[in-house]
């Protein structure tokens, strides 16, 4: 994971941000850009308009609980969120985010990071540096095979590489 040199701005949320808040059902039939513009509006109406590429989301417990709709993670990625740090994640959301190449890290960051703080995260080492407060916290790093998938940009680009490799070796996958 490459550092954003001056860090991303933190947007901080509480517990149990569910998939209906991240990707509201009534906008699910619309393209991701429309859906993303309503991401988190129930808890922060200004989020979608103010978040910038490289910014980070910090949350409490059970981030992304609920539905399997991966638009919950896709909306965050679409808005440019670079990483989500939470005390815990909904199981399907966690996998969805990684599969879309959006790093997610389980850690107790919520107490050490305030709204607007500049934060730099090294997902491979599990080091989270709050540059605004001068505080560093650690988390369990992601396992290498998941980091490799995220480096490739997610599961699809990762598989694209694999299939290309197999084809190069005269594999049978058509």
């Amino acid at each position: 994971m490459k550092d954003v040199n001056d860090g991303g701005r933190a947007f901080v949320f509480g517990d149990a941000i569910d998939t209906d808040v991240l990707a509201p059902g009534i906008y699910m039939k619309h393209p991701i850009a429309t859906l993303a513009s309503h991401c988190l509006e129930a808890v922060d109406p200004t989020f979608a308009a103010s978040v910038r590429p490289g910014d980070i989301v910090v949350a409490g417990k059970s981030f992304g609980i609920g539905s399997s709709r991966e638009q919950a993670a896709e909306a965050l990625k679409h808005l440019g969120v670079s990483i989500v740090l939470a005390r815990s994640f909904g199981g399907i959301f966690y996998r969805n985010a990684l599969n879309l190449g959006l790093p997610v890290i389980v850690c107790d960051a919520a107490d050490a990071i305030g709204a607007g703080d500049r934060v730099v995260v090294d997902a491979a080492r599990g080091v989270i540096e709050n540059r605004t407060r001068g505080v560093t916290i650690t988390a369990k790093p992601l396992p290498p095979f998941l980091l490799a998938m995220i480096e490739d940009g997610g599961l699809l680009p990762h598989l694209e590489k694999r299939f290309a490799r197999e084809r190069g070796q005269g594999g049978q996958k058509d």
Binding site: A16, D20, V21, I65, G66, S68, R69, P143, L156
Partner: protein
């Protein structure tokens, strides 16, 4: 080495003698279930990008249930994409408007003990009721499965939840799950395998077991397993499949579990979860006087034939309070046909129920919606803010018994006072 049922299922799928919780394995998928929302419209472009087709079309079942019936140009387009995908691939099954995927999949004989199954929907743990390892994934992960037939898994711990004794009249699987959500919280399952056991579970029919396994999603478990037995085998045979040897898919007596909870089914009372979380569950009588405007019986977890019969037991010879709309969306066409045949449907209609399509409908807010600001009690699985449309709506959750009793009284009601 002793293994739990979850470990045996994952060991078989990953081609290993045994597995240990926490190790990461690659599993071969026996069946992939997709629906119209997360299915073709999302995965087809991804497969095209990868330049591959389905790894094995005979291991893929497609069920249209989210945008059913289509109501506008967008949803008609989704229906077209879905039907086109079915026409282009020789699938193991395509069910269009036949009901909700989690109910239709086993009803048509696609599930049996020992299988390893992924579903493109969060309520996929429902398949665990059959002694299959079934869990939900998002569309990208599903595209990976459809392209390769494989998925990675961190071998789950097993959280055993034992229910001793038998239910009192008017108390059902939904009450059990709301109670567990209230007691253990929506993270109680910790993304692991929840295993329901004990006398009370063995006494349940398959659809009640499915309600339990289904709401393992709300409990935060990856899947919700139930030991397959003669009840399972009989259901699978009736659905036209061969259940195989169910005795193979049992936990070893000395297998390690990470948590073991014991509850007494006989002591359980009807539960109601207050807005906006299933974890806000408490006995139905603890919520004070809560007038309701809508009573809703629907969804995979709350409108199977078993559920419709519960509602009918309350509604027979009674009518819905004039201030309440009772909406009923039978979970599958087969279950609706069964309800028509045995008189259940007529009881519901005579009481004042409005019938909705056999689809997910209002549970997800995709199809139809509550009005702004209404208070509703529903038999669906989750009551997150905005779940049934407007964020101003207050959704309470209860069993079909409780929803029907509340519809008659016009306020949240413990159904036992109406069951004599």
């Amino acid at each position: 080495m002793a293994m739990t049922l979850a470990e045996k299922l994952v060991a078989r799928a990953s081609g290993r003698e045994h597995v240990t919780p926490g190790e990461i394995v690659i599993c071969k998928v026996d069946l992939a279930m997709i629906h119209d929302s997360g299915g073709p419209r999302r995965v087809q472009p991804m497969l095209q990008r990868l330049g591959v087709g389905l790894w094995d079309s005979r291991k893929v079942v497609l069920i249209s249930d989210h945008y059913v019936p289509a109501t506008d140009d967008e949803t008609r387009r989704i229906a077209e994409i879905t039907r086109h995908f079915a026409a282009q691939n020789d699938l193991a099954g395509f069910y269009d408007g036949e009901g909700i995927c989690h109910v239709v999949l086993p009803e048509r004989g696609h599930l049996k003990p020992g299988m390893f199954v992924v579903g493109g929907d969060s309520h996929s743990p429902t398949g665990g009721a059959f002694g299959a390892y079934m869990f939900g994934v998002g569309a990208t992960e599903m595209a990976g499965v459809l392209a390769t037939g494989e998925i990675w898994l961190s071998v789950p711990e097993t959280i055993e939840i034992q229910w001793t004794g038998r239910f009192a009249p008017g108390v059902v699987a939904k009450d059990m799950m709301l109670f567990l959500c209230g007691r253990l919280g929506m993270e109680g399952g910790r993304g692991q395998a929840v295993h329901f056991r004990g006398e009370a579970i063995g006494a349940l029919g398959m659809q009640e077991r499915m309600t339990l396994s289904n709401m393992t999603a709300e409990l935060g478990g990856q899947t919700g397993l139930i030991d397959p037995d003669e009840t399972t085998a009989a259901y699978v045979r009736a659905a036209g499949a061969d259940p195989g040897d169910v005795s193979r898919w049992q936990s070893d007596p000395d297998a390690n579990v990470s948590e073991h909870h014991v509850f007494d089914a006989a002591a359980l009372t009807p539960q109601v979860a207050a807005p906006h979380s299933p974890a806000n569950a408490a006995p139905a009588t603890d919520h004070g006087v809560v007038p309701i405007r809508v009573a809703h019986i629907g969804a995979c977890t709350g409108a199977k034939i078993t559920d419709l019969r519960m509602a009918a037991r309350i509604l027979k010879g009674r009518t819905v309070d004039p201030g309440v709309s009772l909406l009923v969306a039978p979970a599958s066409r087969r279950d609706q046909d069964a309800a028509a045949k045995d008189g259940t449907l007529q009881v519901l209609i005579d009481a004042g129920a409005t019938l909705l399509p056999n689809a997910c409908g209002m549970c997800s807010g995709y199809g139809g919606s509550l009005e702004e600001g209404v208070t509703c009690i529903s038999s669906i699985a989750r009551n997150f803010k905005g779940r049934m449309g407007p964020r101003s709506a207050n959704i309470y959750l209860g069993s079909p018994y409780t929803v029907a009793a509340s519809a008659v009284r016009g306020r949240i009601t413990d159904p036992r006072e109406m069951l004599s």
